[in-house]
């Protein structure tokens, strides 16, 4: 069971994906805040100071890789997981770049909830 104080920020413009991730995380006991685009995500990162950020790549206002870069610039030790469905093109290239630019882990959509939680836990350094 995750420590109740662990806060995770979820950034995704797709409301269904966002709510699904929130549900998965909250069921595990994490405290979750969310944002619907990169610009709002950065603002939330500053105000909420989460322990982990999970961000989509293709988003309006500010896309995910820019978001990751700015987060890491503000807090170099920030933990970020990048997720991407890639749209009509593959997501591999996006996720590779995200990892190069500081994402701790990358997950392709659609993903298995258990595998997702394992990676979240690993990122947070939980036992």
């Amino acid at each position: 069971m995750a420590a109740l104080a662990t806060k995770i920020l979820v950034i995704d413009d797709d409301v269904i994906v966002r709510e699904t991730i929130i549900q998965i995380l909250e069921d595990r006991g994490y405290q979750v805040v969310s944002a619907e685009d990169g610009k709002r995500g950065i603002a939330s990162f500053r105000s909420e100071k989460p322990d982990l950020v999970i961000t989509d790549i293709i988003m309006p206002e500010k896309e995910g890789i820019q978001t990751i870069t700015e987060i890491r610039r503000e807090r170099p030790d920030a933990k970020v997981i990048a997720i991407s469905g890639g749209g009509r093109i593959g997501n591999t290239d996006f996720l590779k770049i995200a990892q190069k630019l500081g994402a701790s882990d990358v997950i392709a959509k659609p993903f298995d909830p258990d595998d997702f939680l394992t990676r979240v836990s690993r990122c947070l350094g939980e036992g």
């Binding site: 413009d13 619907e36 685009d37 990169g38 790549i57 293709i58 988003m59 309006p60 206002e61 500010k62 896309e63 995910g64 890789i65 820019q66 870069t69 890639g86 749209g87 009509r88 093109i89 290239d93 996006f94 770049i97 190069k100 630019l101």
Partner: protein
């Protein structure tokens, strides 16, 4: 018939508490947003001067405003003014309580209606001067009147529509213009041209007209050209460069010309523009072949030009005279501003004469287009859109892009292209939607002369992030 003053003031007083509500005038209807910032986006006006000493500053700002509109000589009707003097008079001593809120409502309303290139400023929270960069005189007057009507209704309901003043510039001769009866000349105080003010709109309308040829030259004066690299995202290469016509902008700057002059201008202006672009591309193609450069040049031409038989013939004949086999293989022709729903036979009539003179033809349609069955089989290689001047939230733009690209793929079986991806979020959205060819400031800026094919991969998009 004039309304009794007490009656109006009484209603104003009853409205006052509502007007002082912080939420009034600030909420935007769903789906709207402030104009996005782009190369020619409206600039936020400085606060209006509130003291006599600041009037000179206001004059300077009007000068800057006019230069920022991108026209070295103002065209009649593009500068308009909304005045709230009568409302201020009706409020009398209570105006000061109301003024901030009224100003906020006016600004929000104006900003919702501005597009790229339009700008405005205000004086004393009573006068709002708007410069419409791309509308004809008539369109600008209509739009300004609609804005004023919306402001009046927001402030005072139906009772308010008679209480706003709308004036338009009625003559422009190389920096001089005529507006309302305010002595803007005194406020500007500079030597950059005289300012005169007339109330007589009949005289103004007559004076504002100019011979078509002179107007064309005025509108296209100072034309120059650059090229926009187009990214083939599937092959990871920039292999085509789209010719972009530019007009002088602020000081020594330039800005892409199309949107600025096409709307509301006569077909003659559009035709002249298309001819100028064609001649430039043909000249540059010659130079590339002499230098043994292998890349594609994209020549944009408006549907309006090709839609008229005589102009189409002239345009195509010039291509035929200038192009040899080698040059034809390096030329793409993009037909811009194709309206939705053009019958297939009409499209073939327009596309067919061009095909022998180029490598491929592309059709540019509105982003809102969802039915592409008419373009299948007309001879076009790719179908695209331009999002440069689209307003509204990006999430709605992304939804439209997804629909557009998916519909082209499903219904026309053709690849799609997108112009105007000026932010990384729009580039990634275009990639996600499946656009095969993408250009815009976030991919690559305009360049003077294309030199060759350039490898360009997804990682190259993000290089500026890693180098800062």
């Amino acid at each position: 018939m004039a309304k009794p003053k007490d009656g109006v003031v009484g209603r104003l007083r009853r409205n006052l508490a509502h007007m002082l509500d912080p939420e009034v005038g600030t909420a935007k209807p769903a789906g709207t947003a402030k104009p996005q910032r782009a190369a020619t986006a409206p600039r936020a006006p400085a606060p209006a001067p509130s003291s006599p000493g600041a009037e000179r500053e206001f004059g300077e700002r009007i000068k800057i405003l006019l230069s920022q509109s991108g026209q070295k000589s103002l065209l009649s009707g593009r500068v308009n003014m909304i005045g709230m003097h009568k409302i201020k008079e009706r409020f009398g001593a209570e105006w000061e309580k109301f003024a901030d809120r009224a100003d906020r409502i006016a600004r929000n309303t104006i900003e919702r209606h501005l597009v790229s290139g339009d700008i405005y400023t205000c004086l004393h929270r009573v006068i709002y001067v708007i410069v419409f960069a791309r509308l004809s005189a008539h369109q600008a007057q209509v739009k300004c009147t609609l804005i004023a009507d919306e402001i009046a209704k927001a402030l005072l309901g139906e009772e308010g529509t008679d209480l706003l003043t709308v004036k338009t510039s009625v003559k422009a001769i190389d920096g001089s213009f005529r507006l309302e009866s305010i002595k803007l000349a005194e406020k500007l105080g500079g030597s950059d041209g005289e300012l005169e003010f007339v109330e007589d709109e009949t005289e103004a309308a007559a004076n504002g007209a100019a011979p078509a040829a002179a107007k064309t030259e005025n509108v296209l004066g100072g034309l120059s050209f650059a090229y926009r690299p187009m990214w083939d995202s599937g092959r990871n290469v920039v292999s085509a460069y789209r010719c972009t016509a530019l007009l002088p902008s602020i000081d020594d700057g330039t800005a892409p010309v199309d949107a600025r002059i096409v709307v509301g201008n006569e077909a003659a202006v559009i035709h002249r523009l298309d001819e100028a672009v064609r001649d430039q591309v043909l000249k540059d193609l010659d130079a590339l072949i002499r230098d043994n450069c292998t890349l594609l040049l994209s020549l944009p031409v408006h549907f309006e030009t090709l839609g008229a038989i005589g102009r189409r013939r002239q345009f195509v004949e010039a291509l035929g005279k200038s192009l040899d086999d080698r040059a034809r293989k390096l030329l793409l022709i993009e037909i811009q501003s194709v309206p939705q729903g053009v019958p297939p036979a009409r499209l073939i009539e327009i596309v067919a004469p061009l095909r022998p003179h180029c490598r491929a033809i592309m059709l540019q349609l509105p982003l809102e287009t969802t039915d592409f069955t008419n373009v299948r089989g007309c001879g076009a290689l790719a179908i695209g859109c331009d999002i440069t001047d689209h307003r509204g939230p990006e999430f709605m733009l992304m939804q439209a892009m997804n629909r557009f690209a998916r519909s082209i793929a499903d219904k026309a079986g053709l690849p799609s292209y997108l112009h105007g991806a000026n932010s990384l979020s729009m580039v990634t959205a275009a990639l996600g939607a499946g656009f095969a060819y993408i250009d815009g400031d976030a991919v690559a800026k305009l360049i003077d002369h294309p030199r060759g094919l350039v490898d360009f991969r997804l990682a190259d998009l993000y290089r500026p992030l890693t180098s800062s």
